[in-house]
Amino acid sequence: MVASSISVRTQKLNLWYGTFQALFDVDLEIKQGIITSLIGPSGCGKSTLLRCMNRINERLGYVRTEGRVDIDGQNIYAEEIELAQLRKQVGMVFQRPNPLPISIRDNVLFGTRIHTPKADKLSKEQEEEVLEGALREVLLWDNVKDRLDDTATRLSLEEQQKLCIARLLPLKPSVILMDEPCSALDPKATEAVEELIWQMRGTYTIVLVTHNMAQARRASDECVFMLMGKMIEHTETADLFVTPKDSRTADYIEGRYG
C-alpha cells in the first residue's frame, strides 16, 4: 500500500441532468487504500459524484458530463474506455442490498462468469476456490457454507449486503464505491458491515456516501463535504469534525441543516 498515491482524481467535473446542473467544477483527489466518505445534505450531489466514478449515471440517458475522472491514472471518460472493463475495476455497493435472485454461489460467481470467455471457463474446483475466497473475505463463509445453493434473496439484509460486497471481489476491483451501504440495515447489522468495510481498508480504495455523520466519523479516514453540487471541504475525518475550515461545514456537522 502506497498511502500517498491517488486512486481517483476528478478535474473540473460538471454534470447536468437535463438542464439541471448537479455538479459544479468538482476537483477531488481520493487517496489509494483508504476510506473516503462523501457527506452532505440530501440533493448535494454526493451520490451523483459517486455514480460518475463507474459511469453508471449514464444509463439514465439524459445525463451530460464534462471534465475528467481519472481512475488509477486513466481518464474513464475517454473515447476508448470499455464500460465492462471499467466496472470490473470499480465495484459498486448499493443502498438497498440487491443480490440477484439466483443462488448465493451464482451471485458470487456472476461477475467472473460474464467476464470469462467460454474457452477459459473456470473448472468446478477453481470456481469453488473463488467462491470460498470471496465469502471468507466478507466474513460470510461460515454462515452460508452449508447453503450455497439457496436463493440469495432469502438471506438477512446484513448477509445480503455482505454478499453484494463479496460478489465484487472475484473481479479484483481496485476501487469500491458504496452508496449509503448501511441505510437499509438495523444498528447491529450496520455495525457488522462497517466493521467489514474497515477490514477491507488497505486492500481497496473505498469511497463511501453516507447520511450518517457518526458513520462518516468512525468509519472513514478522509471526509469530503459537499453542498449544492460543489465540493466545500476535503480533509482528514478527524480534522473535519473537530476543526472545520468552512462555516457551512461546521453548520452541517452541528446539525443546523441537513
Binding site: 461477475g111 460474464i114 465484487l168
Partner: protein, 289 residues
C-alpha cells in the same frame, strides 16, 4: 362513552345498503356465465362422444363429427403463435430494455395499444389484402394464421413488456455495475424472472385466438372440406367457423350438434386458461424475491 349516536347508525345503514348493491352487481355478473355454461353442458353433452371428436361431418354436416375443424383450429392457433410469439417477445424486449424514452418509442407504444383495439373484422380485411392477395398466399392456412398472428401480436407484446417491467430495476443495476452488458442482464436475470408472466400472457392469447372467427373466415377457413389440409397453402375447417355454419347456414341440423361444437370450443378455451393459471401458480412458487 363509546355507544353509537344516531349519526353512527345512519352511516352504518348507508354502508350496508352499498354493500348489498355491490354484492348484487357481482352476482349479476356471475349469473350469465353460469347460465351459458349450464346451457352448453345440458344441451351439448349428448352430442359429445369419441366419434364426434374423431369423425368427419356427414350428411351435409347434419351428422358425424368435427375432426377436421378441431384439427384445423389447432393448426391455425399453433402456426399463428409460431409467428407472433418470437416476434412479439423480441419487440417487447426491445421496447422495455433497449428503446430510449423518446417520441418515436412513445408513438410505437401508442400504435401497439391501438392495434390491440382494432376490430377483428378489420384484421380480416387486412389479411385478405396483404396475405391472400398481395403476397399471393391465397385463402390458406398460411394466410389465416398470419392474420391471426398480426391480431395477437399487440397482446403478446403488452403482456411480455409488463412481465419484463415487473422485474425490479435493482437487479438490472446490480448486473450493470458488475460490467454486464444489457443482453447478459436480460438473458441471465430479466428473462428467467419474467418467463412465467410471458407464458401466462401467451397461453391466455391462445385461448382467445382459438375462438376468433372473423379473421380466418375470408383468409383460410373453409365452409366444408371432405379432407384434411396437406400443406400450409390449403384451406382448413375451423371450430369457430364450423359453429357459425351449423348454427345458421345449414338446414335440418339436430339441435344438439351446434351446442356440441360450442361445448368443445369453450372446453378448449377453459382448459387453456386453467393450464395458464396452474402454470403461473407453479412458476410463482419458484419465484425468488
Amino acid at each position: 362513552m363509546f355507544t353509537a349516536t344516531s349519526l353512527n347508525e345512519r352511516n352504518d345503514q348507508v354502508q350496508r345498503r352499498f354493500r348489498l348493491l355491490f354484492l348484487v352487481m357481482t352476482l349479476l355478473l356471475v349469473l350469465p356465465v353460469l347460465i351459458i355454461l349450464t346451457l352448453l353442458v345440458v344441451r351439448g353433452a349428448p352430442a359429445i362422444s369419441l366419434e364426434f371428436l374423431l369423425a368427419y361431418p356427414k350428411s351435409g354436416m347434419t351428422a358425424g363429427g368435427i375432426f377436421p375443424a378441431l384439427l384445423g383450429t389447432i393448426f391455425l392457433v399453433a402456426m399463428a403463435l409460431l409467428f407472433s410469439v418470437p416476434l412479439g417477445i423480441a419487440a417487447a424486449i426491445y421496447l422495455s430494455e433497449y428503446a430510449p424514452d423518446n417520441w418515436l418509442t412513445r408513438i410505437i407504444n401508442l400504435a401497439i395499444i391501438n392495434l390491440a383495439g382494432v376490430p377483428s373484422i378489420v384484421h380480416a380485411l387486412f389479411g385478405v389484402g396483404a396475405f391472400v392477395i398481395f403476397f399471393g398466399f391465397g385463402t390458406s392456412i398460411l394466410a389465416a394464421s398470419l392474420t391471426l398472428a398480426i391480431m395477437t401480436l399487440p397482446v403478446v407484446i403488452v403482456a411480455t413488456r409488463e412481465s419484463l417491467q415487473a422485474v425490479p430495476q435493482a437487479f438490472r443495476e446490480a448486473c450493470w455495475a458488475l460490467g454486464a452488458t444489457k443482453w447478459q442482464t436480460i438473458r441471465r436475470i430479466v428473462l428467467p424472472n419474467s418467463i412465467s408472466g410471458i407464458l401466462t400472457g401467451v397461453i391466455l392469447e391462445v385461448s382467445r385466438t382459438a375462438g376468433e372467427t372473423a379473421p380466418i373466415m375470408f383468409t383460410g377457413a373453409a365452409f366444408f372440406l371432405p379432407f384434411l389440409p396437406e400443406s400450409v397453402y390449403d384451406q382448413t375447417m375451423a371450430l369457430s367457423l364450423h359453429l357459425f355454419v351449423v348454427a345458421t347456414q345449414v338446414p335440418d341440423v339436430p339441435d344438439h350438434l351446434p351446442y356440441g361444437v360450442a361445448l368443445v370450443l369453450v372446453g378448449i378455451v377453459l382448459i387453456m386458461n386453467a393450464t395458464s393459471i396452474g402454470f403461473r401458480t407453479y412458476l410463482r412458487g419458484k419465484k425468488k424475491w
